[in-house]
Symmetry: C2
Subunit: 487 residues, 2 copies
């Protein structure tokens, strides 16, 4: 018996109580080998003597040894006993890159983690206080996720589902969900939908990634984008091998009449992100005309189309020409990003190509959640939830506008007819300092400039304020903090 | 008023009952424009006269018109009234590719839909009967998904979750899940795990895709694979820009001693897929030695490690050297593929690179399911389920072996110590005809040859029989059908 066994046996004795004797013994032996406490080549005590030491059945030890031989930890040879396997000496690993810090709450729409630190230049010596409020756009009020209603829908859906629902499914997504989505989108968003042309995906980004592949395969080079938007979307298209020239912008919104030889355009017609306006009718028409004239494709990002406050929602552009427009919707704003469910309504000719891009193995969406969402929509719970949230967000919008009118009347606020965020115009040259000041007071804000396309002309200084983001209990504090940091 | 209005008004009148008057009117108008019933440029009746025709409030019509103008369907100009918008004539679309038929039940592990037709050559003139049984490998018994237990876990998990759990989360996956996984994998599979080095993904394929990117970025050229496996996995690596040379195979399994200058190797040590053997201890050791000597990486696919019948499961290779082995596990076989949840345990130095490959926006896993699975494991329900399924699968395995011994004693069966499938050796030259005969009798089977690497020498004829696939009620029938088609 080699030296280490003296204490090893004693330690083991203390650890090995209860029913998991053998597993515990195996793990202790593995750990001893791993840490070097038992050196390569070291001979182990016989199973009989270790069993006696530990006061356990000999079989327990013998089985543990046999398992560890099978796993390659130990070797057993006739006449030589059981030994720790000899291993090549590990090559010196490169300096560890280390585990990056956990990145919580980073939102693709409005991006960047909700921590104060991230808004600061890296050279700043001291660290700001931890953010206690976030008004980053792109996240709904997570405190409002209807847990009870969702669980009831899950119970109904999972109880009723056929066995095959739990298997590898249709790459378009569960038929139950596509069927209710077709009905819902027609009713709520004026989308010309058909379950066969709907493809469920794990988020807008997943859908855009697939469309990028399809466009590239079709030899498209340029996908026009808006002057303001999300760089993660542009980057995705660039990674797919596409260029993303920016369409010009004026007071009335994106100038779709400037569309030319691009193969496709990505737009947010119902509620421009982040500026907040609806694309005017003649510009919607110009986009469709361009698509018909040139064979181009319109990618319609309808990320928060359900939330419009002072009039009915503007219907989806897709209805104007379902053969020219891909409609992209998501549950991330209307329900929760944690679901990872979104959907595309495709022109019929693209369905096969999108599924080919998805690949036979690109099944990323939980069947359980799809079934539950289908039931949630079909039962009317989704409509009720959206109605309730619309009232709640409108109230917050009104409170934001009222608070600004009272406490910062010189700040112009825009983009307030819809959605979960507003744009606050700041005095020239103050955007960065306001964000920094906010960060130091524990309020996470995002400026307008971070959403500007590199080709687009610099606009006015501003903040994109996500008033949907705080929970109800945090909202008043966040609003107060905002008013305090405004210049 | 143009001609179409005569009947349009009447039709509308019939359709427009109930509370959704305005929405119904809008959809009817859109449809009329879409179908060409209202031609571009056609002038609409005044809101007053249409309202009178329909017996509805004038405001309802006026609002509908305004919305449709906003959406671009109609135009309204002072003095010219409301007209159907003029649109460019659509370019003649290319011949539609058409919607591919729904592809149900295609399983990445064992692939190809469970339909009889797919096993037939395309030239066969008549069509076989629809498959009523499938013995394709790669799918667990979907009828055994523990719906009640799962729903109870969902209720506990969703009730207890903090609000932030429903947001955009840590790209590694929910901390709750990673924490219980670390404990479970150490206990059940001998994995040296740490929550910080676990990355949750939407399936083995998703994990492999990320690892392919990482390896390519590290300038790895070759990833050795086994002589038998899944082409979808090889293809994924090839798409990432890697080559996939096959390791030689002999009676004892994959010859890991042949590893040379490859940058990585993908293996199934606990239960070779599809041949079914466990990698012998000295070959496990050889793989680890190779990795240490050359700095190569081992990708350990532990797809069904929980299911071993005649002795305890062979522990994971990863435990031998957590710095050289990436462990990949999944809930797809132990629970259900519908969950789309799998996990990687990474060497610390790779965590950052894998997250970089995942991208800030590659969040594909449902937070709700992750929370539920964490609770399901922590409560002991997962252990109970795995134990129950192990008994059930072992019983089927025994029944398969017994039925073959009685009804087809000349057929050698192997790979039966573990997992959800067995390999049946067939007389030379009969593999294809057996599969075809089975298809014509409604039994979906897969041959061994479809799992052979293009570089690997042709082995014996055989079937890979997934005895886990049928539900309990279908099992006896499937087994009987199998025995009837064997030569």
């Amino acid at each position: 018996m080699t030296d280490p066994w003296a204490t090893f046996g004693t330690d083991l004795h203390l650890e090995l109580r209860g029913p998991r004797l053998r597993a515990g013994l195996m793990e202790a032996l593995r750990e001893a080998v791993r840490t070097g406490r038992l050196a390569p080549g070291a001979r182990l005590p016989s199973s009989r003597s270790l069993a006696a030491d530990l006061g356990v059945a000999r079989n327990t030890v013998a089985e543990a040894y046999a398992e560890l031989v099978a796993e390659g930890w130990l070797t057993a040879r006739q006449g030589s006993g059981t030994r720790v396997a000899r291993r090549a000496v590990p090559r010196r690993p490169p300096a560890p890159a280390g585990v990056p810090p956990a990145r919580g709450g980073t939102a693709p729409r409005g991006a960047a983690p909700a921590r104060a630190g991230t808004a600061l230049p890296a050279t700043r010596p001291r660290r700001p206080v931890t953010a206690t409020h976030s008004l980053h756009p792109g996240t709904p009020d997570l405190g409002s996720f209807p847990r009870g209603e969702w669980l009831r829908a899950a119970r109904r859906a999972l109880t009723a589902a056929p066995h095959e629902a739990f298997g590898y499914g249709d790459p378009r997504g569960r038929a139950e969900l596509r069927t209710v989505l077709a009905d819902y989108l027609a009713r709520a968003r004026g989308v010309h939908a058909d379950p066969g042309r709907i493809v469920v995906c794990s988020g807008f980004v997943h859908g855009l990634m697939l469309l990028g592949k399809v466009l590239r395969a079709r030899r498209v080079r340029d996908v026009a984008v808006e002057s303001y938007g999300l760089d993660v979307h542009w980057n995705l298209l660039v990674e797919a091998g596409l260029r993303t020239p920016a369409l010009p912008l004026d007071d009335r919104g994106t100038r779709t009449a400037a569309l030319d030889r691009e193969g496709a355009v990505l737009i947010t017609p119902a509620h421009q992100f982040p500026l907040g306006g609806a694309l005017p009718p003649e510009r919607r028409a110009a986009a469709v005309d361009w698509a018909r004239r040139t064979g181009g494709l319109i990618l319609e990002d309808d990320y928060d189309g359900e939330f419009r406050y002072d009039r009915q929602p503007v219907g989806a552009l897709q209805g104007l020409d379902p053969d020219r427009v891909v409609y992209l919707g998501t549950a991330s704003k209307s329900l929760t990003p944690g679901l990872r469910l979104a959907w595309m309504v495709l022109p019929e000719r693209l369905v096969g190509e999108v599924l080919a891009a998805k690949g036979d193995t690109d099944w990323v969406c939980s069947a359980l959640d799809q079934l539950t969402l289908a039931e949630f929509i079909a039962s009317g719970a989704y409509d009720r939830h959206v109605r309730g949230m619309r009232l709640r967000y409108r109230r917050r919008r009104d409170q934001l506008v009222a608070a600004l009118a009272e406490r910062a009347p010189h700040i112009r606020v825009s983009g307030i007819a819809a959605g979960l965020h507003a744009v606050l115009e700041l005095p020239p040259g103050t955007e960065r300092s306001v964000i920094q000041a906010a960060a130091w007071q524990g309020l996470a804000l995002q400026g307008l400039d971070r959403f500007r396309h590199p080709e687009a002309a610099r606009g006015h200084d501003g903040l994109v304020v996500g008033y949907g983001t705080p929970t109800d209990s945090a909202w008043a504090g966040a609003l107060d903090a905002l008013c305090r940091v405004l210049p």
